[in-house]
Symmetry: C2
Subunit: 359 residues, 2 copies
Amino acid sequence: MSITIKDVARLAGVSVATVSRVINDSAPVLAGTRDRVLAAADRLRFSPNGAARSLSMQRTLAIGVILPDLYGEFFSELLRGIDQAAQRAGYSLLVSSSHHDARGIEAAVRVIRGRIDGLLVMAPEVTRSALAHALPRDVPTVLLNGRAAGSDAAHAITVDNYGGATAMTRHLLSLRHRRIGFIAGAVHNADAQARERGHRAALRTAGAASDPALVVRGDFTERGGVSGARALVSLASPPTAIFAANDAMAVGALAFLREVGIDVPRRMTVVGFDDIPVARFLNPPLTSVRVGIAALGARGTQVLLDALVAPASRSSRAATSRRDVLPTELVVRGSSGAASSSARLFLAKPQGESLYGQE
Amino acid sequence: MSITIKDVARLAGVSVATVSRVINDSAPVLAGTRDRVLAAADRLRFSPNGAARSLSMQRTLAIGVILPDLYGEFFSELLRGIDQAAQRAGYSLLVSSSHHDARGIEAAVRVIRGRIDGLLVMAPEVTRSALAHALPRDVPTVLLNGRAAGSDAAHAITVDNYGGATAMTRHLLSLRHRRIGFIAGAVHNADAQARERGHRAALRTAGAASDPALVVRGDFTERGGVSGARALVSLASPPTAIFAANDAMAVGALAFLREVGIDVPRRMTVVGFDDIPVARFLNPPLTSVRVGIAALGARGTQVLLDALVAPASRSSRAATSRRDVLPTELVVRGSSGAASSSARLFLAKPQGESLYGQE
DNA sequence: GCCCGCGATGTAAACGTTTTCATGCCTGCC
DNA sequence: GGCAGGCATGAAAACGTTTACATCGCGGGC
């Protein structure tokens, strides 16, 4: 059917070993021989069978990426960062999404098992123990942005959700907001939880009243933001600011407020979290917490690639498993009232420019 | 190192053939034997080596996805549709992006060659012949949304760019706009070209003047939309409406107009193309051309999967290669002045709901 | 001038599956 | 009671590479 290394060898009048050596230039070959082989390979349009290669070399040059979802800019940014880092190192990406629970992840792992050298997993809604059980033992794994204290075997890269949220809440407090509505994420989402904790802690530290009615449940989608904003606005004593636990929900909140004629930021402040690329282009530009989504993906990938070359560092695996926390940065824009600052966007190079470039 | 089918066979006291049969239940096995094998596999946490499997079965159960980029909601939507369709059929995705030119695509193909059963390629900027040369002969391929009349060997799924653009321009004309600014895409981008042609044709048909100064070059990014809008607004005789060739640029245009205090839609109408998920949540909600991005990906994947089971249909390949054109639909929202219609968004289920669900 | 050694190449084993074919047993029919 | 046939299982080939090892020829040092 398809042409193999044998066909090339026959045409070039050499052995398969020589063909292999030429193709990977893994050993010196006489110039004349090399040319004959190359010519033959070219003429037959030969390209090596990856499966056979992987089997023989015991490595696939691919890493698996398991995501809870693919909806929205967050995931495309994340994947973009991962792809860049992987491609630079010559690795391909085996992507599988829509895996929210441990069972889904286990199924996905089963499918790609043996076709990847390493695994990148984002599973914000899965508990530590469930995850530990679902993940393979023998494949180096990096957890992205879930429960930081993941299973001992895996590395984990997270974003400073807690710190970012406290910074944002302090920002709102500094703007004299006293009743701050919070649109939280899903109950079991680790990132959402950390952001909520950060918000609460900042309120507590400031001695501000923490009215439970001001925290409504969302789901990290625009639609959830719409409902959340509606609920907050409908309160007997509504807040003067809304802190959405991610940008998608902030987008929904902005849309709802516009719909019902509540001006942002004059009558209501809205802020988000993640600083997705579109945030600065919203109307008004969204104040958010920059996470460096692509950087998170790239960093996770880099850590994984490092782990792949390291020879599993003896048995002291647990001791060497990394726990990186990426810093976050408050980005103040028009949606929290600093209308003038947003003008800078189009005059100077915005700070977030790096997101657009090659990292 | 890793545990193989042999280990399981030894532990269960059977041959490797039997283990294989149990795992794939490809042949009847005595209940007792099956249980022993299953128990052994479970105890050893065995999972089959994909590379060996692929090699033996001559199929990888994976499809390659080659994209020009991963930035923005468009690509995450596309990938989402592809992933869903592939996952349903038990296929994995080998994703590689940032391949704009033929050389990049060829390199990407070389890397994933022999690890995939089929190929999904989006290459709007590559010419037909360059693409034909870069793509492998022996791998079923589906082209997404580039030049419809692609290489004979490959199937092609496109969106009705031309029709969508004419519909949009007619919409603007019906709103009494006579000077319509157009922010085009990159010169060599096939989709951008088709949209521009559609726009021009609609103007011509309506007998409207087609001022060349009203067409400015963009690049499908928000930033390009900002520059485009700035250029159009700066004209001696500026347009009353701006048609951006994709939504990302419309987002940029909206941001710029807000920045300089030009109200949309009162003083300027802005419309886009693609209807990315965030479009309906913008301020004002963006009038756009719905493309069904996820559906495009899903359809392409389905066509590819069909081609995989079909035995290359004799040699009449060219004759059977499909050319699907997905219809587009005008979605009118507040940014083109129909302010009241947008209220429907949060009351009734929006038309676009399907994009959020399972397709 | 002989032998040692090195450089280029070939041979064949290994990688971990699936699958064809062979084997042996048991059942049931005449 | 013998034999055909079906069913469960095992042995081994095949998939297309890489690579350790063997081989061969040739040049240089003594």
